[in-house]
Subunit: 272 residues, 2 copies
């Protein structure tokens, strides 16, 4: 792990990332030493930094450290954390903010290929997402809702939990964005009040027309296809939610294929 350019695995207790969750993170697939969708991740990190009034990111420095860390990573997960740095006790931010940047490499999870081919099993979480437009969409370090939702099940046959918000709208998975297809149209939740706007969500919007809207569980249950996505897993079809079965349809397969091509293209381009 690299903390402000130094190899270490600890952080100051007074770091505001620890004291208040005062920071952001990104989770990036690394394939053959190449961070996939790096530009998109850094753009989101920059945008969200502005929303949290963090100092402007030094992207050049960050990129050189990413390169340093990933040069022999093979297939891995790169996590970047940016915090508001150390400061005294109290919510007031220090006058001179010196952000902390942490880069860490983690093993790429060995998900079975069948999750990709046949789809996953999901459940409906009891934990509801709260509503907060100021924080909605951001990948910030205040993640207790996801922690509580993920703590609801131990069954390893269930790969994801679907979260509703306190208004009972379906929003996303604990670690994924969620899409569904109905009559050939693609839908996903609007994330104005809660949820995390994932990089892959954004990428899917670039591939085809998507309707962002508020929908209930009953809408989801009538879907022709359902899939979830994030930067590490890519796209997984959903074959079952609670007791109900779904087919892995053509739009899901098409997006999976296009995404795989895009990743291969990024690797080939970077290596060349």
């Amino acid at each position: 792990m690299l903390v402000n350019g130094e190899y270490k695995d600890t952080i100051a207790i007074m770091d505001r990332g620890f004291q208040y969750g005062d920071g952001l993170f990104e989770t990036i697939e690394v394939r053959q030493n190449i961070p996939i969708f790096l530009e998109q991740h850094l753009r989101r990190l920059s945008n969200d930094s502005q929303r949290l009034y963090l100092p402007k990111l030094d992207l050049e420095l960050l990129c050189s450290e990413i390169k340093q860390l990933c040069q022999n990573a093979g297939n891995a997960v790169l996590k970047i954390i940016i915090t508001r740095g150390s400061g005294g006790r109290g919510y007031r931010q220090p006058d001179d903010i010196q952000p902390t940047r942490i880069l860490s490499l983690h093993p790429f999870p060995d998900y079975p290929q069948r999750y990709y081919n046949d789809g996953i099993v999901a459940r409906i979480c009891n934990t509801r997402l709260g509503l907060n437009p100021v924080l909605a969409g951001m990948k910030h370090l205040n993640r207790l809702e996801q922690v509580l939702a993920r703590a609801e099940w131990q069954d390893s046959e269930i790969q994801e939990g679907i979260m509703l918000n306190i208004n009972q709208y379906v929003i996303e998975g604990t670690m994924t964005n969620l899409f569904y297809v109905k009559n050939g149209e693609l839908f996903t939740a609007s994330l104005n009040l809660c949820g995390i706007a994932g990089i892959l969500k954004h990428w899917i919007f670039e591939q085809m027309s998507v309707k962002e809207h508020d929908f209930f569980l009953s809408d989801l249950q009538q879907a022709d296809e359902i899939f979830v996505c994030n930067s590490v897993i890519g796209i997984w079809g959903v074959q079952k939610i609670e007791q109900q079965h779904f087919s892995i349809g053509e739009i899901t397969k098409h997006l999976q294929h296009t995404l795989e091509c895009e990743k291969q293209k990024q690797v080939a381009y970077a290596i060349k």
Copy 2:
């Protein structure tokens, strides 16, 4: 600072307190080496631990460490942080949770006596509190709302910011609970959907009858008295919100006096 009984000032980057804000904290006044309202703080910590599905606190161990750290503290602030400990990447909690406990001492802030005698100046924050019944009331480590609200002003003549929730109800200060008096009755916000249920809030409920209800800024503006409270500042009357002046009234003064007596009693009892 004491981390799991050892003196150090760093924490593992993989600690879930840092990764996800997966933990709780308490901020305690220490007067003449005595932690004030310790029993109440530990009770809240225990209750909130249960709400976060953290393992049962070892209160005996915690108390002995508190005693160790406070024995020469004089007047100070003691902060206790409990996290879910280290775990792998991902929201799923480890099978074997080994919580991290951190005790730290901080200088007691030198607030001018006039805040206490004459009241403080407050403003209305633009940042709204989100709604989330699962997390409401807890003093957990997900505190970005308070950080963003406190970042709204630099003016040192303003001591507190009053926060509304997204439904425009008045809830609390960025670091305090808020009460108001109207026609001899005491009111405060209900904290079912947001806010932090402070130790002093609870103590005030034990002193006199309080009506918990939803109220708007216009209700607050017609108050006879307003005060804010927390474990470190005690009780401060509010003399001004934005451009409007308020009197520091008898109920505020009475509670300030009773609280001071209670603290002196606790110190005297502990020293004896």
